[in-house]
């Protein structure tokens, strides 16, 4: 067994950014564990551009964005074991990992950074009825086949869900000569970013149908058709609105779920609002010395924010490695009924904190108030707020007291 000051689980954008920032804060003994053969995470298959506007002030492709961090980590000599899968994390911060090259490994970590990212919601999870032919892919799997493996998955395509990857795949498959019949979204609004509705669908004449869903999948060997129905206000299919679309491929872009199996194994508590770990203002989970940032904590819209969050995490993690503990965070953070995916869930009132959340439905002319007791700590007026766009508000320690819980109120 080997001691490592900081074990980072995942060499995607969160893990790489956390590693680099930890090194800058003087932590020398860092190890990144990455299950793929190269670092970069999901960015490796995101060959479209639009990454980096916030973080670097320019637009990059996914591999280009990742390469900046990979190069920096290499320049800083931060070791990264690839083709290495973490099997278990214990509450006392032991990490078990295996690889063909190094066999079974056990590390005793000063701190553990969880940066496993997220996975896609599947057909089974949303119980789409029908048969089970080939040709039904999640957007990320289709993207991996096309962009990493050079294999075309189909020619006549229906896309369910207007998540960003679904819309990007609509454009990608069109560019590869496939016919994309349409994107269907069960909600009355697009779930991905407005810029992707413009650049991936409208620019290519791909129709987006809101309040529609797939109600049947047909075909025994390969997909032959899907049935699309309009849904009512409760998202229930409306009988009589069925339309059959002949297609050989159905792409699902129906949501992302933080990949937290190792988090729960380590004994960390869940935040019911995000489905990720409950963390405090230092991104520390309920297990001391185990931190989480990026999409494993809550799903972000832009990788830039993943990197920034992971960089912010490094401060607390470095302090923990040096001092063995962080100040207690006893104040709860709560949101009202319009607030979803709120992090962190606890703060101390003595440190700076970034509060992140999403509105639960599209809103116009709303007000966001962060309150402690009757005191408004910060107020922001927003002409428009969309669930697709995460809202982040920074609070200074000086503005906070150490006695009252923090309430996030969105009013319209």
């Amino acid at each position: 067994m080997k001691h490592v000051d900081a074990v980072i689980v995942g060499g995607g954008p969160a893990g790489l950014a956390a590693a680099i920032e930890l090194r800058r804060k003087g932590i020398d003994d860092i190890l990144i564990l990455e299950r793929e053969k190269k670092p970069g995470g999901i960015l490796r298959q995101c060959i479209h551009d639009g990454f980096g506007l916030t973080r670097f002030g320019e637009t990059l492709s996914g591999p280009e964005y990742a390469a900046r961090f990979v190069r920096e980590a290499e320049a800083l000599d931060i070791p990264c074991l690839t083709d290495t899968t973490v099997l278990e994390i214990t509450p006392d911060r032991h990490v078990y990992a295996s690889s063909s090259e190094h066999g079974m490994m056990e590390f005793e970590a000063g701190a553990i950074i969880l940066a496993m990212g997220c996975r896609e919601r599947t057909r089974g999870a949303i119980s789409i009825p029908g048969t089970r032919p080939a040709g039904v892919y999640t957007a990320g799997v289709a993207q991996a086949y096309i962009n990493l493996k050079n294999k075309m998955v189909g020619r006549r395509v229906v896309i369910l869900g207007s998540g960003d990857i679904g819309m990007i795949m609509a454009r990608r498959m069109t560019l590869e000569g496939a016919k994309v019949l349409g994107v269907f979204e069960v909600q009355p609004y697009a779930s991905g970013l407005p810029r992707n509705v413009e650049q991936c669908l409208n620019d290519y004449g791909i129709p987006l149908s809101l309040s529609h869903t797939v109600t049947d999948i047909r075909g025994t060997d390969r997909l032959e058709s899907v049935v699309i129905s309009q849904v009512d206000d409760h998202m229930q299919p409306i009988p009589g609105t069925e339309q059959e679309y002949e297609c050989d491929t159905l792409i699902l872009s129906v949501g992302l779920i933080p990949e937290n199996e190792l988090t729960w194994m380590a004994g960390a508590e869940k935040d019911p609002g995000t489905s990720g770990a409950a963390v405090d203002e230092n991104y520390q989970t309920t297990v001391p010395g185990i931190f989480a940032a990026g999409n494993v904590l809550h799903v972000h819209d832009l990788v830039d924010f993943v990197s920034l969050e992971a960089e912010a995490l490094a401060d607390g993690a470095a302090r923990f490695i040096r001092e063995g503990a962080l100040p207690a965070c006893n104040l709860a953070v709560r949101g009202n009924e319009l607030v979803g995916g709120l992090t962190p869930s606890r703060i101390s009132g003595t440190g700076d904190v970034t509060v992140s959340f999403r509105v639960r439905r599209p809103l116009r002319n709303c007000t966001v108030e962060l309150m402690q007791g009757d005191t408004v700590v910060k107020r922001r007026r927003m002409p428009k707020a969309l669930p697709a766009e995460m809202i982040q508000i920074k609070l200074k320690a000086d503005d906070l007291n150490q006695t009252d819980d923090l309430e996030v109120k969105v009013t319209c």
Binding site: S98, S100, E120, P129, M152
Partner: protein, 499 residues
């Protein structure tokens, strides 16, 4: 043309069990299967119960074989390396009528030779399984759970290892008898098979084959049921199958059953279908499962859903629609050298080997074949990486470094295990076939992480083109060709991000 001693039609659990029992003799045996793998029909589309035998009419083949199959299964599972747990079962009731039916079937069970059944009160139900519903229950200690797909694969592997040949993608279209040569010619689109004996194990299609052999086209009726598969996270809440009290005819509605791998199955419901392969799931029935399943299992929650599926029990029925017993027959006078098995449905998995022995006995009685002294009933089944201790895992990787590469994250399946599965004794190459041999893609991400790796391994290991990879059926291609202008270079393909 090659001459076979026996052709078995159908590689479901019964056909595979028959093949395995035939391998005990010096016979040239071919199994013809219309799909690309074993157990593609209802052999795998069921709850995976090792039934105790308390709902079947005393004296029936169902009752006799279920009790026999149940008693021997510890040994069978050990021989074939099949995961199996004798969990017992709770048959729970809420009303006086439920109690009447439970007592009625308890008496039938006792008549059938089922041991140890007892009525327990709510307090004991909650002690045995706190997440079970019900005001009282019958506890049946001999019931158990197994993976019916893994069991069928094991039977077929063991048959193949002892010399039986399996032929996939061979749908039987006609059977001719050549009286002068004392043989049958079995026609398939991929050529004919000449054989002395024919054993009909065609499952849903058994009545059609029955007619081709000269027996009646027995009327059957399809009782379809749908299921939810729940995440292993829900598996923590249920350790024993929980069934509702049987109805007056001994049928069970929606129940909750742990699987031997730690998931939960909720279902099946039951409704009549006319379509031989109507395996689609429907919104109405899935909604019904949520409603009824919650009565049996208090943790039935949408967040646990990872998949759903359907199966059909093709029951033999009389003119009035009453369900009849399994049919096992031979007729040397009119249809010589044939054994006919029709209407084999639940409890067909439990009964597979007992039925196989009875079928093979008909042949042995006539043919008196030489015993195969080399028959090995033991199928090698290496321990799964997932089931190993850390020390065993470390040793496995030291022995074969491919054990160190985790291909399927959710189910912790290694590259070594996938490679072994691709090189299975039956020569099955579908993605679903690899799944059923390893559990890769069966977890909560449903292949989101590992499917791209598995298809690539299939291509590399077998030297086939991506367009020749099949998902499950013969026409289930996964790729339509390369991306436009793509180079064959792997490095170009891998979207390198290093400097």
């Amino acid at each position: 043309m090659e001459q076979w001693d026996v052709v078995v039609i159908g590689a479901g659990v019964v056909g595979s069990a028959v093949a395995r029992e035939l391998a005990r003799y010096r016979l040239r045996v071919a199994v013809l299967e219309k799909e690309l793998d074993v157990a593609c029909g209802n052999s795998s589309r069921n709850t995976g119960m090792l039934h105790a035998g308390f709902t079947y009419k005393p004296g029936s083949l169902k009752a006799e074989c279920a009790v026999e199959g149940n008693k021997e299964f510890d040994q069978v599972a050990a021989e074939l390396g099949v995961p199996f747990k004798r969990t017992g079962k709770l048959v729970v009731g809420f009303t006086d009528h439920d109690m009447e039916n439970i007592l009625k079937f308890k008496a039938i069970g006792e008549q059938n030779g089922v041991e140890g059944m007892r009525i327990i009160d709510k307090e004991e139900v909650e002690r045995i399984e706190p997440h079970a519903g019900g005001e009282f229950a019958m506890y049946v200690p001999s019931s158990g759970i197994l993976d019916p797909m893994a069991y069928t694969i094991a039977l077929a592997d063991n048959a193949a290892q002892n010399g039986v040949k399996f032929f996939f993608d061979r749908k039987v279209t006609a059977i001719e008898r050549y009286i002068a040569n004392d043989c049958y010619l079995i026609h398939t689109p991929a050529g004919a098979f000449r054989t002395k004996w024919v054993i009909n194990c065609a499952g849903a299609y058994a009545s059609q084959i029955s007619e081709m052999l000269g027996y009646p086209n027995y009327p059957v009726r399809g009782f379809k049921g749908e299921y939810f598969v729940l995440d292993k996270k829900a598996g923590e809440f249920l350790k024993i199958p929980v069934y509702p009290a049987p109805n007056d005819k001994g049928g069970f509605s929606t129940h909750a059953t742990p699987t031997v791998d730690g998931n939960i199955l909720v279902g099946p419901d039951s409704y009549v279908t006319e379509d031989w392969e109507d395996y689609k799931c429907t919104k109405d029935h899935l909604d019904g499962l949520i409603r009824d399943g919650s009565k049996m299992f208090k943790q039935m929650r949408r967040e646990y859903f990872i998949r759903n599926f359907a199966g059909i029990r093709w029951k033999r029925v009389d003119e009035d629609g009453n369900v009849l017993d399994f049919k096992l027959e031979s007729d040397q006078q009119h249809n010589p050298n044939t054994v006919n098995l029709v209407g084999i449905e639940s409890p067909g998995v439990t009964c597979a080997l007992p039925l196989a022995r009875r079928a093979v006995a008909r042949l042995v009685e006539v043919e008196k074949p030489q015993v195969n002294e080399d028959f090995d009933p033991v199928r090698p089944a290496p321990k799964r990486f997932y089931d190993m201790t850390r020390e065993e895992q470390a040793a496995a990787i030291a022995e074969d470094p491919e054990y160190g590469e985790i291909v399927c994250r959710c189910e912790t399946v290694t590259r070594a295990e996938i490679r072994r599965a691709i090189n299975n004794p039956l020569g099955v190459h579908t993605v679903t076939g690899i799944k059923n041999r390893t559990r890769a893609t069966m977890g909560r991400c449903q292949g989101g992480y590992c499917e791209t790796r598995i298809t690539e391994m299939i291509e590399q290991e077998l030297g086939i083109k991506p367009t020749d990879v099949r998902f499950n059926h013969a026409g289930s291609y996964m790729f339509t060709g390369p991306v436009r202008g793509a180079q064959a270079s792997d490095e170009a393909a891998e979207g390198s991000v290093s400097a």
